[in-house]
């Protein structure tokens, strides 16, 4: 209890002198704010990418691709394949006995990006009639759904903000055909980066006959094994089947891991710099207060509270820096949308996600850096011989 009171007293005294050495205190705060903002922003980018793809996957949906195809764009299924797949066991059927499935055509179009004006690959997905039941998160937020048999497109919300010329009523030229934008949909996942259309009409525009994938609604999550067994034992089919949750998780794995490694590596290097900065500041703080500390020691304060109070001061300054850094990252980058090339060789639009967990993570880094930077100066302060420190000018 005595210790505790001593710690509070000494810390309070030293905090009170901060205004006199604002410059050097700012070094800790700013240094750590820099580290934390970069760390949080980069991790938020990785998480955002991962989340937008993870959202697209479910436990009780399955996606069927041709065997060996790593993404829909590489896959190809014939009309006969598609019929067989939809009739497999484990697929949910509506009251009329029709399977809830969507045989999809995935192609890429060249459309200009809004920000740069240069052509980018945009995914167009031909989706079956049942898609709105299958992907129940997807709903129209402007205009209407496309009509079967017509050259009409509905645009994902993300695609609309990222690519130029996709307002409702506008026409998009695909080859020699004009397609009309009739609606905008939101789904909260990676599909928002896509343009949806009638698959058979889309096949015509791209001179194709087959499909890329079939997505199925399972009767329940456990029905997957039955479906998988049926599809892999059918000699007429050479396909791979996955839960959509696994399929989309694999797609984000590589890039989000890369971003995470980069973020932590860059922040670690910056963190080393910030530790040097903190050491510098705390040494300066301790040396300007060496007389005061010696006086306290002479008065009977023991060494440990001195050590703890110096570290506490460093930690408090560091936390302040961490809060500022996380705040900057949140203010500037939360919900900031960007896009990159995804597995289907087309743009995936995603937003940075500065989550509370990331902010906490950033604060822990700040605390770590602060304590590391405070430790040596604290020990140095406590070890100073009282007599010589008192005599010093």
């Amino acid at each position: 209890m005595r210790w505790f009171a001593q710690i509070i007293e000494i810390t309070w005294m030293s905090l009170a002198t901060i205004p006199e050495r604002l410059g050097s205190a700012l070094v800790i705060v700013a240094g750590i704010a820099g580290v934390v903002s970069v760390l949080v922003a980069l991790l938020a980018m990785g998480e955002g990418f991962q989340a937008v793809l993870a959202q697209a996957g479910r436990l009780d949906d399955a996606i069927v691709l041709r065997k060996g195809a790593s993404a829909e764009l590489n896959s190809g299924l014939s009309r006969e394949d598609v019929v067989l797949i939809a009739q497999a066991p484990g697929v949910l059927k509506d009251s009329a006995g029709n399977p809830i499935a969507s045989a999809e055509v995935v192609v890429v179009a060249n459309l200009p990006k809004r920000s740069s004006g240069s052509d980018t690959n945009v995914e167009i997905r031909g989706v079956g009639q049942r898609v709105w039941e299958l992907r129940s998160d997807a709903h129209i937020i402007a205009g209407r759904r496309f009509e079967t048999g017509k050259r009409e497109l509905v645009i994902g919300k993300g695609a609309q903000t990222e690519f130029a010329g996709l307002e409702v009523g506008k026409t998009v030229r695909l080859g020699l055909q004009d397609w009309t934008v009739v609606g905008v949909f939101a789904s909260g996942d990676a599909h928002e980066s896509e343009l949806w259309a009638d698959p058979e009409v889309l096949q015509g525009a791209y001179n194709r006959t087959g499909y890329q994938s079939v997505t199925l609604k399972l009767t329940d999550a456990d029905a997957f094994d039955a479906l998988k067994a049926a599809l892999s034992s059918d000699p007429r089919l050479t396909v791979d089947v996955q839960r959509t949750r696994d399929y989309y998780a694999t797609q984000s794995e590589r890039l989000s891991r890369l971003i995470r490694i980069l973020g932590v590596a860059i922040a670690s290097i910056m963190g080393v710099g910030a530790v040097f900065g903190a050491l510098n500041t705390m040494y300066a703080a301790v040396s300007t207060r060496s007389r005061e500390i010696a006086t306290l020691r002479a008065l009977g304060f023991s060494a440990t509270p001195v050590v703890i109070s110096v570290m506490l001061e460093a930690a408090l300054l560091a936390l302040l820096g961490g809060l500022i850094g996380a705040g900057i990252a949140w203010y500037v980058f939360d919900k900031y949308t960007v896009s990159t090339l995804g597995a289907n060789f087309s743009q995936v639009v995603f937003a940075f996600q500065v989550s509370p967990r990331l902010i906490l993570n950033g604060l822990l880094w700040a605390l770590g850096i602060g304590l590391l930077g405070g430790l040596l100066p604290a020990v140095h302060a406590a070890r100073q011989p009282v007599t010589s420190a008192l005599r010093a000018p």
Binding site: G23, S24, A30, G76, N110, M270, N280
Partner: protein
């Protein structure tokens, strides 16, 4: 120069402080060097050969094939010297993680790339082996490929018509890039289009893209327009770009790497500026009486200004150079970690780095140096 020892002595007046400051600068420049290496790796360079090459792909989208019959028509366009073609294969070697580019090419494809050095006898072997393949030296090193090896690739797009998903190629050649900085282009495998077209189950008679060599780079744009006009309003409209533009567009699709890198650098240098700036002014403040003594014994105002400025410039130069040297090692490690990456801290990065060192030294040193110069001896001596 004759005051160098004086600058040096005052720099190490407080060893711990100087070393810590120095190390923070070193860390900043280490980061700068490595990030700049990444930026450079994603920068599309001008090259002599690249300027005279055009890429003809489908206007509809990059994934859409073009008819083989376009070849003869493109060859007749004025200014076109040679036309090669290729098709993306997208095969996987052993595991999905082992990604590298692999595609089928026309026999004259390698002639279009004089920057890929392939020994003549290997080139002949490639031309005469139907199942032959060539790989870049980097790739060969990574998987320990040797000439004579059979390389199996798992098809992702094109199953073989014999019902198997595996295509097997005979390695007959290993090429190097002429310049070390292009080493990331050694990460590809090429094999014969004829073998590919025969074995695939669909898409016969189509190619992924044409590569066109024009006789005069000055007329590349004109030739590109002429080619696109040939196929305008046809079923397969084309989009013809210089190779450089094609690569630029591709890098842009990955994302704005330049912006990300410069934002991080901004955060790093702002922090370092604050940190060293504070330390420098603190160091000068402590030495005011000494500076006053120097002035008393005849040092001019300018001398004092340069003494203080010299200190910060020296600190920035030593820390910066140390950081960039470390970054050179770090970039090597980065290249090893991302197999096939060719990250290097080049002359351009050093030049930018040196300019930043100078600016940092000036920004940090000028305010305290200015104060030191304006110091009035009497006041300064009185203070203590």
């Amino acid at each position: 120069m004759k005051f160098l020892h004086l600058v040096w002595a005052s720099l190490f007046r407080k060893k711990a402080r100087t070393i810590l400051t120095l190390l923070s600068i070193t860390v900043a420049f280490l980061l700068f060097g490595m990030l700049d290496a990444v930026r450079v790796a994603f920068t599309v360079r001008d090259s002599l050969e690249g300027a005279s090459r055009l890429v003809v792909s489908s206007k509809l989208s990059i994934i859409q094939p073009l008819p083989y019959s376009d070849l003869a028509q493109i060859q007749r366009v004025p200014g076109v010297e040679q036309v090669a073609f290729a098709n993306w294969f997208g095969g996987i070697y052993q595991d999905r993680k082992n990604f590298f580019a692999n595609f089928a090419v026309s026999p004259n494809y390698l002639d279009m790339y004089p920057e890929f050095l392939l020994p003549e006898e290997q080139k002949q072997a490639f031309l005469t082996t139907r199942t032959g393949a060539v790989v870049g030296a980097n790739l060969a090193r990574r998987y320990d490929f040797k000439i004579g090896d059979k390389i199996p690739l798992q098809a992702t797009i094109f199953p073989h018509k014999n019902g198997s998903n595996t295509w097997t190629f005979d390695l007959v050649g290993i090429f190097h890039t002429r310049e070390a900085r292009d080493r990331n282009q050694e990460d590809q495998l090429m094999f014969h289009y004829d073998y590919f077209d025969e074995g695939r189950t669909f898409g016969h008679g189509t190619v992924g893209w044409y590569t066109v060599k024009v006789s005069d780079p000055e007329h590349a744009q004109q030739a590109a327009q002429d080619i696109d006009r040939l196929f305008a309003n046809s079923d397969a409209e084309t989009k013809t770009q210089t190779e450089k533009q094609f690569n630029l567009d591709f890098v842009k699709q990955i994302g704005d790497i330049g912006l990300i890198v410069s934002s991080i650098m901004g955060a790093v240098f702002f922090t370092i500026l604050l940190l060293t700036g504070n330390t420098m002014s603190q160091a000068v403040r402590e030495r005011i009486p000494e500076l006053a003594v120097l002035k008393t014994i005849g040092f001019s105002n300018q001398n004092v200004l340069w003494l203080v400025l010299g200190e910060s410039l020296l600190l920035a130069a030593i820390g910066g150079s140390l950081g960039l040297l470390l970054a050179m090692g770090g970039a090597g490690a980065l290249s090893a970690a991302f197999r096939g990456g060719a990250f290097a801290v080049g002359a351009q990065s050093w030049l930018t780095g040196i300019v930043i060192m100078l600016l940092l030294g000036l920004a940090v040193g000028l305010p305290p140096a200015w104060r030191a110069m304006r110091l009035r001896i009497v006041d300064a001596l009185n203070e203590h």
